[in-house]
């Protein structure tokens, strides 16, 4: 019995280790995308949930805001943004002595004016003479900053960096690139399973062979076909219909293969009976096969959709890298080059690109796995 307990403990520990190692990178990205960009650049994401000590510089209000009372002049205000809940520990009025005064202590400035700063950032600056300064006085503070999360990165990435546009572009590429092969291949798969015609077995062998053909084998000739067509009609060589057809071509073998295996497995008595009743193949396909194939369609749809959504190579080659056509993965790659050090943009951009795949994954995991297991040999 003792041995069993030990085995169980080891099993649990091992698996927990694997899970932690696997999930940490993604958690880091996810947490970082909600962090303030300055904090993100200076501290690790694992410190997010701790209270950090931060050094910041603020300016007081200018002399325009002064109030006169009983011959004394006052400027009142708050250095901190209240929403963040920062607490000031100490402050200073020169960059050399940033921590000279504790919070609530009164600092006496060169001109004999007195300034007092409270923990929540409120300050009261009083002087016997009238204030003259045009720019606010600089105050250096050291504060405790509680964990804070912001959606600013998302606003920035979606609307300023063009990732929102790229998101729409990717949808425009992915939806037709999934539906078109699905329609074309379901007919093809039906014909390969239940119709008799010349060359059927050879055709199926070609499909099986094409499953593993690397798409690199097709790129150069296709690109030159596209360029020729573009030159012939005097239009741009790269367009959305062009990229749909390319994805249809590259997804054809795997989609057909999966659907054919499914359709072939349906009981043939059912089809024979319909034939006897005088149905044409088209009727049978629409009335019997389509409704029965919904689960298979779901698997194939998810597989092809994710493949297209996550693709980089086809999008790079068959679309122009301009804002109206660039897809998410290509955009991210561009950002990696141009904004390589701006982690708030990269992490957020990456997460935006993952939202749809992850939603599909968690909602339809069963179909996804079924499809993958059945045909993950795409070329």
């Amino acid at each position: 019995m003792k041995k069993n307990v030990l085995t169980s403990i080891i099993t649990n520990l091992l698996l927990i280790t694997f899970v932690i190692v696997w999930i940490i990178p993604t958690v880091g990205l996810f947490v970082s995308s909600f962090r303030d960009k300055d904090l993100l650049a200076t501290s690790g994401w694992w410190t997010t949930f701790k209270t950090n000590k931060v050094n910041e510089i603020y300016r007081t209000k200018t002399s325009e805001y002064q109030i006169e009372e009983n011959g004394m002049f006052f400027i009142k205000g708050n250095l901190l943004d209240k929403n963040y809940g920062k607490k000031i520990v100490s402050y200073g009025i020169t960059s050399k002595e940033m921590n000279k005064f504790k919070v609530n202590e009164i600092a006496i400035l060169k001109d004999q004016s007195k300034i007092e700063i409270k923990e929540n950032g409120e300050y009261l600056w009083k002087s016997e003479k009238s204030f003259e300064h045009k720019r606010g006085k600089r105050i250096f503070i050291t504060a405790l900053s509680p964990p804070k999360f912001t959606l600013d990165n998302y606003k920035e990435v979606l609307f300023k960096e063009g990732v929102g546009q790229a998101f729409l572009n990717t949808l425009t590429v992915a939806i037709p690139s999934t539906i078109i092969p699905l329609i074309i291949c379901s007919f093809f798969a039906y014909a390969l399973s239940w119709m008799k015609f010349w060359g059927r077995d050879t055709l199926f062998a070609i499909i099986v062979a094409s499953l593993v053909v690397p798409l690199q084998m097709c790129l150069i000739p296709l690109l030159s076909i596209y360029n020729d067509i573009g030159a012939l009609f005097n239009i741009g060589a790269k367009s959305y219909p062009g990229v749909w057809m390319a994805h249809t071509g590259f997804g054809l073998a795997s989609t057909t293969f999966l659907l054919r295996n499914f359709i072939k497995s349906l009981p043939h008595e059912m089809i024979e009976a319909a034939r006897v009743d005088g149905a044409t193949h088209y009727d049978i396909f629409l009335r019997i096969i389509l409704p029965l194939s919904v689960p298979a369609f779901a698997s194939v749809f998810i597989l092809q959709f994710l493949w297209v959504w996550n693709d980089l190579l086809v999008g790079l080659i068959f679309l122009d890298q301009v804002p109206s056509e660039i897809i998410l993965t290509a955009k991210l790659r561009e950002l990696l080059g141009s904004r390589g050090e701006n982690w708030e943009i990269l992490t957020t951009g990456a997460f935006v690109s993952m939202i749809i795949p992850l939603t599909i994954f968690f909602a339809l995991q069963r179909y996804f796995i079924r499809g993958l297991v059945a045909g993950s040999v795409k070329g």
Binding site: F18, S43, G44, V212, P221, L346, G349, S353
Partner: protein, 327 residues
């Protein structure tokens, strides 16, 4: 691209596609009804209506390009002048190409092996625990995201700051907390390849795990029980019963990941673009497609090298399916 034009585009694409099948089939029904009073179901034409679009796409997008790529590899950079084996000779002397071949071989050795190994171990562990399904979901999740997304996730893990600064990359933070110097992982030749492979292993282990998990359920329980009663240790059961039983599954997983690894491109392009000796074939090919105005001869050659790696698997696949068809 606005939301409205997205809808119009999608609608247009789908309607064109579906109306072809519907209209052509209706037309065929109509013609055949007219031709013979005895309406025949056995239309000779109908299969061709069913297969025509797919076959056209297959020919235009796969068959013709494959043959053309082979032809182009014997031609010069513009594809008009026959140069024989010149491109191939050039490749044997090109240091970048040699580097790419070596790296691809490294990837082929490490990634399928480790992914399959981790996948098997995790599947085996997870099937014995109540929370195994959750664990499997988490391990499998990277399969859903793009290579570029995964690249960013890991670039963040590998991020490097000079010694003395706070590390924001997780790996360097661990290294520093253990008392070592932080490293710029992506720029250390040879080792950086391993760090890139880690990304692929991280993604593909989920796939291996799922397939193994399905296969493990096929192992007869009595056999395992018998071994346990005879006093075999868990490790012994794993190595002497389970692994031999899964031989075929291991082969399948190994081929799937091998094919993927041969074409590895996105990760390299996003992370290093082949710098610091991390070049691979697919990235070098992409490079040559556009370098100096594009060289279709050299680009094609690299595609062919990738293809040659795939051919044994292709033949094996076709044989397997022929056998399955017979039964």
């Amino acid at each position: 691209m606005t939301v409205t034009s997205l809808f119009i585009y999608v609608f247009f694409g789908v309607v064109v596609c579906f109306s072809y099948f519907h209209l052509s089939n209706l037309a065929l029904d109509f013609i055949e009804k007219k031709k013979s009073k005895k309406f025949s179901q056995k239309s000779v034409l109908r299969p061709y209506i069913f297969i025509a679009p797919a076959v056209i796409v297959l020919v235009v997008f796969i068959l013709y390009p494959v043959i053309e790529t082979v032809r182009l590899s014997f031609f010069n950079k513009t594809g008009f002048e026959f140069v024989g084996l010149k491109n191939y000779f050039w490749a044997t002397k090109d240091p970048e190409f040699k580097r790419a071949i070596l790296n691809n071989l490294g990837w082929l050795l490490v990634v399928p092996t480790l992914s399959a190994f981790f996948g098997l171990v995790i599947a085996y562990l997870a099937d014995r625990l109540w929370w195994g399904t959750i664990a499997k979901s988490i391990i499998f999740m990277p399969m859903a995201i793009s290579f570029v997304g995964a690249g960013i996730i890991w670039k963040f893990v590998y991020d490097y700051r000079g010694p003395g600064d706070d590390q924001i990359g997780f790996l360097n933070a661990v290294v520093v907390s253990l008392g070592f110097e932080p490293q710029a992982w992506m720029t250390i030749p040879i080792w950086n390849n391993l760090f890139l492979m880690v990304i692929m292993i991280w993604i593909q282990t989920g796939l291996a795990m799922v397939i193994f998990s399905a296969a493990l359920r096929g192992i007869p329980k009595e056999m395992l029980e018998a071994a346990r009663i005879d006093g075999a240790s868990e490790l012994k059961i794993f190595t002497s019963i389970i692994i031999p039983y899964l031989e075929k599954t291991i082969l399948v997983i190994w081929t799937i990941i091998t094919i993927l690894v041969l074409k590895i491109f996105d990760i390299i392009l996003a992370m290093t673009n082949g710098q610091w000796n991390t070049e691979v074939l697919a990235n070098l090919m992409y490079d040559w497609m556009f370098r100096g105005g594009g060289d279709s001869g050299r680009g094609s050659l690299m595609a062919i090298v990738i293809m040659v790696g795939v051919i044994p698997i292709m033949i094996w696949n076709i044989r397997r399916h022929k056998e399955e068809e017979k039964t």
